[in-house]
Amino acid sequence: MTYLRPKFRHPELPKNKLGYSVDKYEGALSTLCAGCGHDSISAGIIQAAFELNIEPHKLAKLSGIGCSSKTPAYFLSNSHGFNSVHGRMPSVATGAAMANRDLTYFGVSGDGDTASIGMGQFVHVVRRNLNMTYIVMNNGCYGLTKGQDSATADRGSKNKSGEVNLFQSIDLASLAIELGATFVAQSFSGDKSQLVPLIKAAMSHPGFAFINVISPCVTFNNNLGSTKSYDFVREHVEATATIDFVPEMKEITANYEKGSSKEVKLHDGSYIQLKKLAEGWDPLDRLSAMNAVQNARAKNEILTGLLYMNPNSVDLHELIETSNKPLNSLKKSDLCPGSEALKAVNAGLR
């Protein structure tokens, strides 16, 4: 029986700037079904955190309930973690982020956890532009409770027992754009060359960064007729562009045909390089992003890649001018500045 993962790793594993090899970002051995898309996304998160030189103890991973929400156990075991109540990850994340702005917040949710029970929480965290990455591992079903259709199952899609879904699906990416999310992307668990740079960009984005990742449930929703199966997704994906995440702005040497490539600079000096841009789409333009998603839907395509981003994002802390230090580092003198300060406040109210 191998419930154990061998301790040996490839002897030539590279180290990142912190001197860690990628195995320092691993988690416990996954207990998900063999072949679950969620495991691939976990591997993508591990790779992204490694490449971004994240200090594991400076990251908090948060989740709700579901197979997807179990995954934080399977990556970054040296980071903080909070496995919350079903659909309630956003409020826990908000509380944590408000209390300690120095951590990187990484939320993992499922389509059930987000689009059904957690919808109310989701929409508010989007509109508040909380500084976090929010990944939905979207398999179109409730995997953990044995595969019932979720709210993201497409109309007409067939589940494992042959039932056709009668209801309109919720398109989480469109919804996020609509609600003012400042970074919205879509991807597929089976395409790490796209997923990893997207996660890195999302984690570098100051504000709410949402990635809807189609992630097949091999056990309950990988059947013929499902629109979230490996085969269906592979046949129907279209990318907005190929994406590269470049850590620091270097001089750009390559020459691309005008209109076929674009660099989007991020707040911290890193940038996203996009090549082979889809026609009529501009990642910095909300309307064109919405159009692109809708057009793709109409053509029965799954549009992946970066959809929209706002490089001038103002996150919740900035917006409501919170303390610029984590609350746990505030001294008594910061919290009780004394009667003189009180007088000054009162005087201002007269």
Binding site: H10, A34, G35, R234
Partner: protein, 597 residues
């Protein structure tokens, strides 16, 4: 790259690094698993079939398998393959009942074996059960060749050697000991159907031109002659101060033997730098442990004789210089010659073949170095009925090579006697069986232990240095043997990929602890090697490439550091990966399928 042809047994054979590196291709992981299961008799028999002398080799083998062992690429040290073989030999039960049982029905053919070393004994073992009448000639009084006359008892106890030599002689071999074959012509006149020459490389090199060599002769000894005279108890003493010349394993055996015969200040003096000495690292360690200094970069100049008696030797200090091609030259350091005192000198500077007894007009061709012309796979000479093997064929090597060549020569002799083509070699016996028993259950112990290599305990120096016959190594006890066996990665349990079942979910890629697997566009080998999740920089290890998948990509697995942990197969939702035990066994003459008819 083209898809890998896994139906070619050589592909998976190469993945089993140890077995592939073993000249006799002993199924190493198979016997290591048997040891872990405490099935020592079975483990012994797996060895006996392949290498004929498990007890001897478990103590003395040159172990080419160990530097090849995959474990050495994922952590510091390889599995102690050789010493595990000894665990099987030490703890075996009644093995004799598993060996061919004579008397064998005669096939009417007679074969003469010249020499009684491992090569000839292997030929005897492989041919006797087929009904050949075997006549073995050796000038010594007992069988075993250099295993008896050269390898000292403190490394190989006589009882161990006797047992394994007798397993063979008991198959009904006609032995002619104390019989030096002085004429091949006479032997050929005796109408043998085939003659096998396994006479080894019996002549030790001397330094005849060094000043003082003749005058000091009484105290200057040729290493291998001296070792055999110790082994046969003609010599039991040596002076207190001894110089051993040479840097190979013979020098190591000479110096350690000298320590046991009264040598108090024994020094090894070698021409080359320490790091380039021919002796195995463990032999050098053992010598150091017995307080024997190794003085390197010293070239012998002369023997110093006073009043007709040896006093010591003069040496020139040198340094190694290398030209652009890396070729070494030893250049004098230009310092004053160094004197080293000695009562006796042992010359261990190499050995060579010598065939004064083979007449040159018999149709057995010799080359310009006076070596017989021998075919590399059939071991046939230019005379149809004469075969060579072991050190006699291609110069001094080691016991396991002699055994491997003996097996092949036996096949050739059998084919020749049946009038068949020697070049059509029998295929190996191979088998590939799934190890899957259930969802998380495999028929092999797939967990990978992290234990570091265990050291073999040794007897106390106080005891071993005063008794030439006291074996230094004590061998692993059963518990340590088990733990060492658990370090083996089961490289024969192969990862087998079925393209048509793969749904390209990446589960195997994500779980593989050593990043062996990549799904990628296909390319030429060199490009492909650089395109993998971890670049495949070890070109001695193959890439396993699938046929094209649905997405037009291919699965590429770098075999280099696969742990054979089975996680890829366990994580595969469709069983596109399976763990299958690959058994590969070189066919021997007596296996019964050597014949193609």
């Amino acid at each position: 790259m083209k898809p890998t042809n896994i139906n070619d047994p050589e592909y998976f054979h190469k993945v089993v690094d140890c077995q592939h590196a073993c000249p006799a291709h002993t199924p190493v992981p198979e016997y290591i698993r048997l040891i872990a299961e405490e099935k020592y008799t079975e483990a012994y028999m797996v060895n006996w079939d392949s290498n004929v002398f498990p007890g001897v080799l478990g103590r003395t083998c040159d172990r080419p398998c160990e530097p090849a062992c995959r474990r050495g690429r994922v952590e510091e040290e390889p599995v102690a393959i050789c010493r595990l073989k000894r665990v099987a030999a030490d703890n075996k039960g009644d093995v004799k009942k598993h060996m061919p049982q004579g008397p064998f029905k005669s096939n009417g053919k007679k074969v003469a074996l010249v020499g009684g070393g491992p090569a000839a004994l292997t030929v005897a073992r492989d041919l006797a059960p087929l009904g050949y009448e075997i006549h073995l000639f050796d000038e010594q009084k007992l069988g075993g060749g250099f295993m008896r006359s050269q390898i000292p008892s403190f490394r190989l106890p006589e009882t161990v050697l006797n047992e394994e030599v007798n397993f063979i002689l008991d198959l009904g071999i006609h032995t002619h000991f104390n019989h030096f074959v002085s004429s091949m012509k006479d032997l050929m006149a005796k109408e043998y159907d085939a003659i096998f020459v396994g006479t080894g490389a019996p002549r030790g090199r001397d330094l005849p031109d060094l000043p003082g060599r003749k005058e000091g002769d009484a105290n200057i000894h040729i290493g291998i002659n001296w070792l055999s005279s110790v082994a046969f108890e003609h010599t039991s003493k040596i002076g207190k101060k001894v110089i051993v010349l040479g840097g190979g394993n013979t020098a190591m055996d000479c110096c350690r033997t000298a320590r046991r015969l009264g040598g108090e200040q024994v020094k090894v003096v070698v021409r080359s730098p320490f790091s380039e000495m021919k002796a195995s690292p463990w032999e050098k360690e053992d010598a150091a442990h017995e307080d024997i200094p190794i003085i390197d970069n010293h070239v012998p100049k002369s023997f110093v004789i006073e009043n007709g008696k040896l006093k010591g030797m003069m040496f020139d200090k040198v340094k190694a210089v290398y030209d652009e091609k890396g070729k070494r030259q030893l250049v004098s350091a230009g310092e004053q010659e160094v004197f080293i005192e000695a009562d006796d000198v042992l010359v261990a500077v190499g050995q060579e073949n010598s065939f004064p007894w083979i007449e040159k007009d018999l149709g057995i061709e010799f080359d310009k170095w006076n070596m017989p012309v021998v075919h590399e796979t059939t071991f046939a000479s230019t005379h149809k009925q004469v075969f060579f093997g072991g050190d006699a064929a291609f110069g001094p090597k080691n016991v396991i090579t002699a055994v491997a060549q003996g097996h092949q020569a036996a096949i050739s002799i059998d084919l020749m006697c049946k009038g068949e083509d020697l070049n059509v070699r029998p295929s190996p016996f191979v088998n590939l069986v799934s190890q899957k028993m259930g969802i998380h259950e495999w028929a092999y112990d797939s967990a990978v232990e992290t234990d570091k290599r265990y050291a073999v305990p040794q007897a106390e120096k106080k005891v071993t240095l005063t008794n030439r016959k006291k074996e230094v190594e004590l061998g692993f006890d059963i518990a340590t043997g088990f733990k060492e066996a658990e370090r083996c990665l089961n490289c024969d349990v192969q990862t087998v990929f079925a393209t048509d079942k793969c749904i390209e979910c990446d589960a195997c890629v994500d779980i593989c602890p050593t990043a062996c697997i990549t799904f990628t566009e296909n390319a030429e080998e060199n490009d492909l090697r650089s395109m993998l999740k971890m670049p495949a920089t070890n070109h001695t290890q193959d890439l396993y490439v699938s046929s094209e998948l649905k997405t037009n990509r291919v699965m590429v697995k770098d075999e280099n550091v696969c742990l054979h942990c089975g996680l890829c197969a366990e994580r595969c939702p469709t069983s596109a990966w399976d763990m299958q035990k690959f058994f590969y066994n070189v066919t021997k003459a007596h296996s019964g399928c050597a014949s193609h008819k």
